[in-house]
Amino acid sequence: MRSQRTAWLLLAPTLLILFVFGVVPFIYVLVTSFLHWNAFAADPTPRFAGVDNYRQLVFDDQFLYAVWITLRFAFFAVVSEIVLGYLLARLMMRDFPFKGFFRTIHALPLMVAPIAVGATWRLLTVPGLGPLPYLLEHFFGIDYRIGSYPTQAFVTTVIMDIWHWTPLVTLTLLAALSSLPREPFEQAQIDGASPFQIFWHITLPYLRPAILATVFIRMMDALRTVDEIWMLTGGGPAAATRYIGLYIWRVVFPKTDYGYGAAISLITLYLTIVLCWLLYVSLVARKQKKGSF
């Protein structure tokens, strides 16, 4: 009964759905990216375009700007989340009352719909309504309007992402910290190592795989953030927070220039894969050296 045929039959529905809704769109976008195809053009029939679409996007300032600010957003968000998440995980390792309760509360943002996260932060930051503009104005004299100031909008999107995803880092690093062996730490303490030396020479090397894995996953997610940014700033002011996902969705796609939109989609996918591959290689390199992950 445990024949290959039964196994393939069991797998068939899954593979079929993933093929139709995962692979077919990919092939479709690949083909489309080599076409001149604009639904609103004088001649809306698709024509072969060679690499014209790709040539065009190399000189597309808006696209390059979107890539640049997306990388900047992902960098600041992920670095802050790792540092903050590590500190929180250390504090979660301690013994204190109602630990399970606090842990559950801390995990709450992970379950909330990204679009609702955007709505929440919008309500916090709307001038005249939210507490943030009011507090910043009264206590620090800062004119806080994310609808007008690009830097403030950028920083607010990063802080929102930190609020949303730091719990993931905390909980992953907490799991890693809980599984650390005790002996090296005890030995180091006997040898009189300073807390910083212990952190740098023992904790960090042990946590490296977990940290890299978390960076990898968070990076992938941060690069494709759309929903909450759309809800919070709508990509503005001007294009200050129009990250790559938003750019494809709100600018390229509605223009009905399908060929060019496909090329941009594909390049985005390619850039994501390259970046993730680089992170992955650093993981695997470590895995082979240490022999465990």
Partner: protein, 278 residues
């Protein structure tokens, strides 16, 4: 000696929980205020609960349709994904297959692709290719249900792989010797043993489907819109009614809050693809 440290940590986590909860509390405050009370000096206290926003949202036929769509899409997707993942995972776990680890890995990669990249091809396919006569997959619930499998199936297979691998092979081999059919093994042996794991899988895929926005916004227009797209519509219209938006957002996050306690321990393994085991 240890007491002050315990107290300090406890107080710190009180503060951290405040930071986590405050944005949601604030949304609740807004949702419970009348339109006239909204502006002016922000006040953190709700003077009198005003359910008008909730009543207005819940009695709006458009919103009712969105809510119904979300419930149908999330429930059907979750059931479909759990059943298909059970079959697929059982095959991957128990059968001798050439290259099954590659199939497993390929399945997982489906979840990693940035959704925005697939909006354009899916929109074109849904409006032009996936059609039967006048009927299009565009703006249908079934379109969303099937599409959500692309990110939910890999997740479910990942979670269930660990669970089914942990069930001793002797258990279903014994059933096989007794003459049980494959279907009987799956429903009478595997399912009962792994019930908690299936519950977690079903709940989390349900929540992911419920939370999805980008595809729902792009691939539906009128009939199959979901609650998340309804929430976003409050902002694109000029002169946002903040109270209504807050009430809708509160309704959107009810499932997250309800299920949080049940699945909290599995979220991390789920979201990190088991990169970190708990």
């Amino acid at each position: 000696m240890r007491r002050p440290r315990r107290l300090v940590t406890f107080l710190f986590w009180c503060g951290a929980s405040f930071v986590t909860l405050f944005p949601i509390y604030w949304m609740f405050v807004i949702s419970a205020k009348s339109r006239a009370d909204l502006f002016g000096r922000p006040s953190l206290i709700i003077d009198s609960l005003n359910w008008a926003n909730y009543a207005a949202t819940l009695s709006d036929p458009t919103f009712q349709l969105y809510m119904l769509n979300s419930i149908i899409v999330a429930t059907c997707n979750s059931l479909l994904v759990t059943v298909l993942a059970l079959l697929a995972t059982y095959a991957l776990s128990r059968f001798p297959m050439a290259g099954k680890e590659n199939i497993f890995f390929w399945t997982i990669t489906n979840r990693m692709a940035p959704p925005a990249v697939f909006l354009l091809p899916l929109f074109l396919l849904y409006t032009q290719a996936f059609t039967i006569g006048d009927w299009k997959l565009y703006d249908t619930r079934i379109g969303l249900i099937l599409l959500y499998c692309v990110f939910n199936l890999p997740f479910a297979i990942w979670i269930l792989r660990g669970i089914i691998d942990a069930i001793p092979k002797e258990l279903d081999e014994a059933a096989m010797v007794d003459g049980a059919s494959l279907w009987q093994i799956l429903t009478r042996v595997i399912l009962p043993v792994a019930r908690p794991g299936f519950a977690v899988t079903a709940i989390l895929t349900w929540v992911f489907a419920w939370n999805e926005y980008l595809f729902a916004a792009t691939l539906t227009s009128v009939h199959a819109r979901t609650i998340t797209t309804g929430l976003a519509e409050f902002v694109t219209v000029t002169g946002t009614n903040w109270g209504l938006m807050a009430a809708t957002a509160m309704l959107t996050l009810i499932p997250a809050v309800v299920f949080l306690g049940l699945v909290q321990r599995h979220i991390v393994a789920g979201l990190t693809f088991g990169a970190v085991k708990e």
